[in-house]
Every structure is written in C-alpha cells, then in structure tokens.
C-alpha cells in the first residue's frame, strides 16, 4: 500500500503561517494599491527641469521658484490665466492711481488670511515690500524708488519717485508676494536697510510657508521635488487638487512620461521641436514670450567689423527669418520686434521681418566691407527645447550667403555669461524674456545706458537720435496705453539703428494630460497657475 505523504506537524504550522503572511501581504498590497490610486487622482504632478535657488519671495528669481511662490503666496494684484494685459485684484480688492502715476492706493481684502489663520494687514505688505528692496536680491532693482506706507490696517500707499505706470504690474510679480511679517521676523527676517546682511529668514522660508496662497509647502527637496498641499486657511476657493508634486525631470523624460501618463500631470519644458510627435490626446498651451537676439559690439577695439553700423544692417537683411522660426518651433511666425508677441506692445504681423540678400550685399559694398569676418559666441545649451547651436549655425549659413564669415564659438553657460557681461564679445546670441510682463523691463536694459547696451559698449553718445528720442518718449509715458504706442516706435528705431539683431521668438509651453483642464501657460512669470488647474470634465 503506498505510503501517504504527510507533512510533519511543525512544518504544517510553518506552512500555515507563511500562507497567512503571503495573503496578508497581497491584501495589504491591494489596499495600498487602491489608496495609491486615489492619492494619484488627487495629486497633480508637475514635471519640470528645476531652476530655483530659493522659495524666499524676497530672493526668488528663477522660473521654478516663481511657479511655487505664486502657489504659496499672494501679492496685492495678480494676472488670471494667460492674459497679462491688466492686473487683477489679489490681496488688494481695489486700487487707485494718481493722474501722474506716482501714487497708488490699495485697499486690502478683509477676509484674507495667512496659512496660520492670522489676517493679512497693511503692515505685512509694508514689511514684505521693504524687505524685498533692502535684501538687494535679483529683483530688488525693479522696486527701487518706491516708498510703501500703511496708513491704516487695510490701506497701502505706494509712492513712486517718478511717474511709473508699471507699479501695479510690478506688484503682481511673485517677488512682491506678501509675507506674514510676525512669522518671518520670529525666524530671523528683517525689512531694515541692513537686510542684505542681517536677514536670516531664507532657510526658514525654504522649508515652510509664511504666505496666504492656496497652497502650503509640505516638502522642499532641492533637486528632487517640491510637495505642496492645500492651505486649509485659504480665504478663496480651495484648489481642485489638494496635493501638487513638482518633480525635477529633464525635458526629454517629460515627453516620455506624459505620453504614458494616465493621471493628472503637466509638463513645463516640452517646447520647440520637442512638441513634434506628441499624442493628440495631450493638450498644449503656449505663448511666444521669449525673444532671441544677436548682439554686436560697437567698440571698434573689440570688434572692428561689428562696430560698423552697415555690418549690423547687412546681417539683419541676410537672415532668413522664416527658417529661423521653423527651427524655433515657434507658432508665432517669424520675428517682428524685440517685444515678444505675448506682451502688450508687440509689433503687428505686417511688421514681420523678411530676408533681403541683395540689400545685405549692397550694404556691405557701400560700406567698403569686403569679406567681413567676426567671432560669434553663444551658450552651448538647449533652451526651451531648442539647441542654440542650430540657431547659431543657421545665422552663420544665412550670413555666408551675403558674404559674411561668422566663426561660431559655443561656450559653457557660465563662460558665455562672463564674456558677454564683460563686454568682450565681438558678436553673439542669447534668448531674453521679459522679467515682468511689460516692455519696460526690456526697454530699460537694452536702450543706451542699460545693462545689455553697456555690454555692447553702446552709449547715448553713439546711439542715433531716433533711438534716444523713442526711449525718452517711452519712459516719459505715464499710462500703459501710451507706453504700448511708444514702444512700437522704439522697436522700429532699434531695428534700424541698434547693435541688436532680432532672430525670432520662442514660446513657453504647458503640456497636460487629458485628466486636467485649465493648465494655461502664462507669460506673467509663474508659467502656470497651479491653483487654477482643475479636473477635466
């Protein structure tokens, strides 16, 4: 009779315990899986290549920082969606402007509270804006000449030392976010004149929030991720997603990830030619807000060829602007003016620049420039999905058709910045976006006497009368409307007489999965308003 196989008693108990353990693991996995799935649906994932050094509003400057700060803090005014034509109420429910654009009176909302439940007061506004200026950070220069006063709990008066219609726009910048003065002071912050050396609040503000925005900071892991959660004390409507995870990811990976994603997710760096081949199920929101321009040094000792105005005009005439627009993947078409189409003051389509090779050759011949050659530096980077090398090579090729030899010299970003900022470059190229959504920020740096102009050794003495007068007209204008008109004339004058050669525009982009809606790109600086992103359907 065959022996029946029997498991010994002690082994049976081991087997039973093992089976129960496996079952428990499977059950816990299933439960956790369901919980994970629910958490995923409530989490908005934002993929972006991190560019930020701090989340301290007084020191923040880079775009990832702006993205987060705009979700964590509020400023007196703001912009809604992708429309940057007019600032909308933020912490201030209304404001009045004096006729000479020097006095701005803001009335704060009664209901606005910080994340700790305390009310937002005029003293907090005064503290925040004074701290911003006295920290001497990257954005402080824009706020120089503004005096802030808090005559009562709900009123803020900002006085400019010269007419400045941009004050409401400046006060919508993330840098002008309002902090909880008591909390920041308790953690080493100060708004005094010595704030640049005495303020110690940055590390605190990098790890938590002292604002009134729709989100609070749960975790800041530099180089890895930022985790935001809904602010329970937010005075406005609660955001659709109670949790936002901003992940550091290269652009190519963002494209792969979004293509496969079936959860609420957006990507901020799939731009330019990377947009090719995206599945139609993904939504793309973009605005052409970046100008690419070439600069030519006007100092004959640095650039004997480039300092000749005829050379710059010949380069302008030689360029194939439509071809450049194709390389930039720009849906805004070929270049028109230095102010990108996303902003008020951009030139209309009829001002689109055209290639004119015969004119380029004629200009060179008339000036006696035979086989001119020049060195051209550019940062060897990919910016917004565009390899700058391809743009530089296109410029080189177009110029060669007119008989101009451009010797390309790609440089690491830091080396490029050092040479460019040192005023030692003969010719080069760089992208430039507005720091705040008004032409003012471009006019001030690019006109004679501005930071960029100084790098080209271009001064009032060497600038044309048309450039000087259009710049003066623009700066003298006291309303937004007047400035929009003035900046058009300025762009025409710059196109004729400046050492800048506009190459094209590129768009900032937000790509989103079908699960989300309202992920609109904004040229206001913060890329997308995370609190405005909602569930589709």
């Amino acid at each position: 009779m065959p022996r029946r196989f029997r498991v010994p008693a002690h082994r049976r108990s081991v087997v039973a315990v093992s089976l129960v353990s496996v079952l428990a693991c499977v059950l816990s996995a299933c439960t956790a899986g369901r919980a994970g799935s629910a958490a995923r649906d409530n989490t908005l994932v934002v993929d972006t290549s991190f560019v930020y050094k701090t989340l301290d509003p007084g020191r923040v400057y880079e775009q990832t920082g702006y993205l987060a700060v705009h979700a964590l803090y509020e400023s007196l005014l703001t912009f809604e969606g992708g429309d940057v034509t007019e600032p909308k109420p933020g912490l201030a429910e209304s404001y009045e402007v004096s006729s000479d654009a020097t006095r701005f009176t803001f009335t704060l909302r009664d209901e606005a509270t910080f994340s700790d439940g305390s009310s937002v007061t005029a003293d907090d506004v005064e503290f925040s804006l004074e701290r911003l200026v006295n920290l001497k950070g990257s954005t402080a220069a824009y706020f120089e000449g503004l005096d802030v006063a808090a005559p009562d709990r709900n009123t803020v008066v900002v006085t400019a030392d010269e007419p400045n219609p941009n004050v409401p726009v400046l006060l919508a910048m993330p840098a002008a976010s309002i902090l909880n003065a008591d909390v920041v002071t308790d953690h080493g912050g100060t708004s005094g004149r010595d704030a640049a050396s005495e303020d110690r609040a940055q590390s605190y503000l990098d790890s938590t929030t002292a604002g009134s925005g729709p989100y609070v900071l749960e975790r800041n892991e530099p180089g890895e991720q930022l985790v935001l959660t809904a602010n329970d004390n937010y005075w406005g409507d609660a955001p659709a997603y109670p949790r936002v995870v901003v992940r550091n990811m290269e652009a190519q990976n963002q494209k792969l990830t979004l293509t496969r994603s079936s959860s609420p997710e957006i990507a901020l760096d799939i731009a330019g030619t990377l947009l090719d081949g995206l599945p139609p199920s993904l939504s793309v929101s973009q605005k052409p807000d970046t100008a690419y321009f070439s600069f030519v040094n006007t100092d004959p000792e640095v650039s004997p060829v480039g300092s000749r105005p005829a050379f710059v005009r010949a380069v302008r005439a030689a360029l194939d602007y439509r071809g450049l627009a194709d390389l930039l993947g720009s849906r805004s078409g070929p270049a028109r003016g230095l102010i990108a189409p996303a902003y008020p003051g951009a030139l209309p389509e009829e001002d689109t620049l055209e290639q004119d090779l015969p004119r380029a050759k004629q200009l060179l011949a008339d000036a006696g420039l035979t086989d001119p050659a020049i060195e051209f530096i550019y940062p060897a980077i990919t910016y917004r999905g565009v390899d700058l090398g391809t743009i530089a090579t296109k410029v080189q090729g177009d110029a060669a058709k007119a008989g101009i030899t451009i010797n390309l010299r790609p440089l690491p970003l830091n080396a490029f910045l050092e040479q460019y900022r040192g005023g030692d470059a003969q010719m080069g190229m760089t992208p430039q976006a507005l720091t705040y959504p008004r032409a003012d920020s471009m006019v001030r740096v690019m006109s004679p006497g501005g930071v960029n102009a100084e790098r080209m050794n271009w001064t009032d003495d060497t600038a044309s009368a048309a450039v000087r007068s259009t710049t003066a007209d623009f700066l003298a204008a006291t309303t937004d409307e007047e400035r929009v008109t003035a900046v058009e004339a300025w762009q025409h004058a710059m196109h004729r007489d400046s050492p800048y050669v506009l190459l094209g525009n590129n768009s900032g982009t937000v790509v989103s999965t079908p699960e989300v809606a309202g992920a609109d790109y904004t040229p206001a600086g913060w890329i997308v308003d995370l609190a405005a992103v909602r569930r589709a359907g």
């Binding site: 950070g137 990257s138 892991e221 530099p222 550091n248 990976n253 830091n414 930071v451 960029n452």
Partner: protein
C-alpha cells in the same frame, strides 16, 4: 651563549597590523587635506563669475546688490583668507552654505548621498558577483568561442555611453513595455518614509510601509541595471586579464598536475591569487559610483550626488562644488584605505613591507 637582562623595561611591541593601520590613517588625512587645497584652487580657476551666475542682469548693474552678494558669501576676502576660513569651518563639520539651495552643504550631501548609495550598493554587489563569475568563466575558456563572446559583450558594455544606455533602458522598460514606473525615487502619490537610514526601501520597511518599499525598489531597478551593466563590463575585462595572468603561473599547472579538483584550484589558488588586483579595481569602481554618475542620475531624475554636483557646477556654487569635491575625495581615500587594509589582511607580506 647567555643573554643578559639589562633591567630596562621592554616596550610593548605594537602589532604590525596596528602600525600599518596608523600609517595608512596618517597618509589618508594628509591626502584629504591636500584634496581640499587642490579642490579650492581648482574651483577658483573655473572660468565664470559666481556673482554673475547668481544675480540677475538688473542686480548686476547695481553695485550695492553685487557688494551684498559678495559679502554674504565671503567673496570679498583675499583667497588665502577664504581658504583658511573654509578649512577652519570644515574641521568643525561646517561645509558652508550652498548658494543654489540656500541650505548647509552638509545637509544637502546627507540628503543626496543615501540616494546614490541606494543604487550604488546593489549595483556594486551585483557587478562584483557578475564580474568575477563571468571574468573567471572567460579566463578558464581562454581563446574559445565563449571567451570571445564575453570579450565582445564587455567591449560593447564599455563602449556604450552610459547616458545612451540609460535612455534606451528607460525607453524600453518604461515607455514601450510599461514595466517600470519611470524616473525619480518614488511615485508622486507616495511620501518618503521617515528618515532612519536615508535609503527609501529600508526606511519604508522599518516604518511598516511595504508598498512604499516596493515602489522605491521598482524606481531604483533601472538605474541599478544600467550601473550594473556598465560596471560589470569593466570588471569582467579586468578579472579576466588578472586571472589569465595567474593561470600562466607554474603553481597553477602544478596544482592541476598533482590532481587537485578543478574547483579547488579555481577557488584556493586562482581566485585567491587574483584577489588583490580585483579588490583594487572593485574599490575604485565603488568609489566612482559614490562620486555620482551624473548622466545616469540625470536621465532617471535620481537626486543623488551626481545631480547635486551638476546643479552646483551649473550655478558656480563654490561651497557646494567644494563640498562634493571633499566628499568624493574622502570616499576615494576611505575606500582605498579599506582596500589597503584588506590587502594587509589578505597578504601579510604587504603590511610587513
């Protein structure tokens, strides 16, 4: 012959291994100090102005803003003063503040090093096991088809750029097959477990969160795979050539000739003789893994030392660059020290020489 007792107390004899250890420690400290000098000078020599790399165009036009930045980061001091201040702080465990994260560099490193260890340690263990096994397999079949196949395979692994291999692996396992959760250390729906070791799988298990641990393992799988493939290719070639050299020795022929089992010859004579060279290579490989594999970490959005070093270099963040330099130098020195000590244990002739 008689011996005369002089009455003088005999100094206790310090064991040779302890003396060997002490000597190596002194050398290691000297090397570490030297690395700070070299690192500091190299960072100064890097083209680029940290002020320009960190301030906006508008702020650069404001002398007060430039002065405030220079004062805040000590850039207004003479170079020797900057170095001595740095060294003094370093001795007290203060690596300085990172300009691009605004946090203490040591804190940043303590965040990033565990991430690197999480992929480096399993990749190292796998690479050593595979490298020795495949290398020995090829050496024992020298000149045969199997040996040729191993050589071609390892050459392929060595000549494939790691970033390209990473992209390929990510594309295949994440995008095409959907077997991997993609980049990062953890899926967005999970929060990192409470920090005990800094290694997510371990900390998640300690916190009783098996799903988080499993998710962390899944995320680590692809970077570990790429690191393993790259490192194994190096080790295979090295082990093969080291063992081929030993195989030509007379004592191996003698061992076979006297009828010892092949397994005994392989493990007791062949592998043991090649061990010193293999340990050297393995040590260097592990140190290079700790130094951070920038491109692999970048492709997999892995927040390790490599990514931190890259971000620091991009921002010309001198304290952070120096912090990474000192960490990497310390890792190399420590691992070399351990390897040296293992030599001493493995071969007494080395510690006595």
């Amino acid at each position: 012959m008689t011996t005369v007792d002089t009455g003088a107390p005999r100094r206790p004899r310090v064991p040779s291994f302890v003396r060997y250890l002490a000597r190596r420690l002194v050398i290691a400290l000297g090397l570490l100090l030297g690395s700070t000098v070299v690192g500091f000078l190299l960072v100064q020599a890097v083209p680029g102005d940290p002020v320009a790399a960190n301030l906006s165009d508008e702020a650069l036009g404001d002398p007060e803003a430039v002065a405030a930045f220079e004062q805040r980061w000590g850039l207004d001091e003479p170079l020797p003063v900057q170095y001595l201040t740095y060294l003094g702080n370093l001795v007290q465990g203060d690596f300085g503040m990172s300009q691009h994260t605004g946090r203490p560099v040591l804190e940043d490193l303590l965040d990033h090093v565990p991430a690197t260890l999480e992929i480096a340690v399993p990749a190292f263990v796998l690479s050593v096991l595979l490298g020795i096994t495949i290398g020995m397999f090829a050496a024992l079949r020298h000149g045969k088809a199997a040996d040729q196949a191993v050589r071609v395979g390892s050459l392929l692994g060595l000549s494939t750029p790691p970033f390209w291999m990473s992209l390929l692996v990510l594309y295949l396992f994440f995008f095409v097959l959907g077997l991997s959760p993609g980049g990062g250390r953890l899926s967005p729906e999970f929060s990192p477990p409470p920090t005990v070791t800094g290694l997510y799988p371990v900390d998640a298990l300690l916190a009783g969160e098996p799903m988080v641990a499993w998710d962390a393992v899944q995320h680590a799988a692809l970077p570990v795979l790429v690191l393993t493939l790259v490192t194994t290719a190096t080790l295979v070639r090295f082990v093969r050539s080291a063992l081929l050299e030993v195989l030509r020795k007379d004592y191996i022929t003698a061992a076979y000739a006297k009828g010892l089992p092949a397994r005994t010859v392989r493990h007791r004579h062949l592998l043991r003789a090649g061990l010193v060279q293999i340990m050297t290579m393995a040590g260097l490989t592990f140190a290079s893994m700790l130094a951070g594999t920038v491109l692999i970490e970048s492709v997999f959005a892995w927040p390790g030392v490599g990514n931190y070093a890259y971000a620091s270099a991009s921002a010309l963040d001198r304290p952070a660059i120096l912090g990474v330099t000192v960490f990497v130098a310390a890792a190399y020195i420590l691992i070399n020290l351990v390897v040296d000590l293992l030599y001493g244990l493995a071969d007494p002739r080395i510690r006595l020489s």
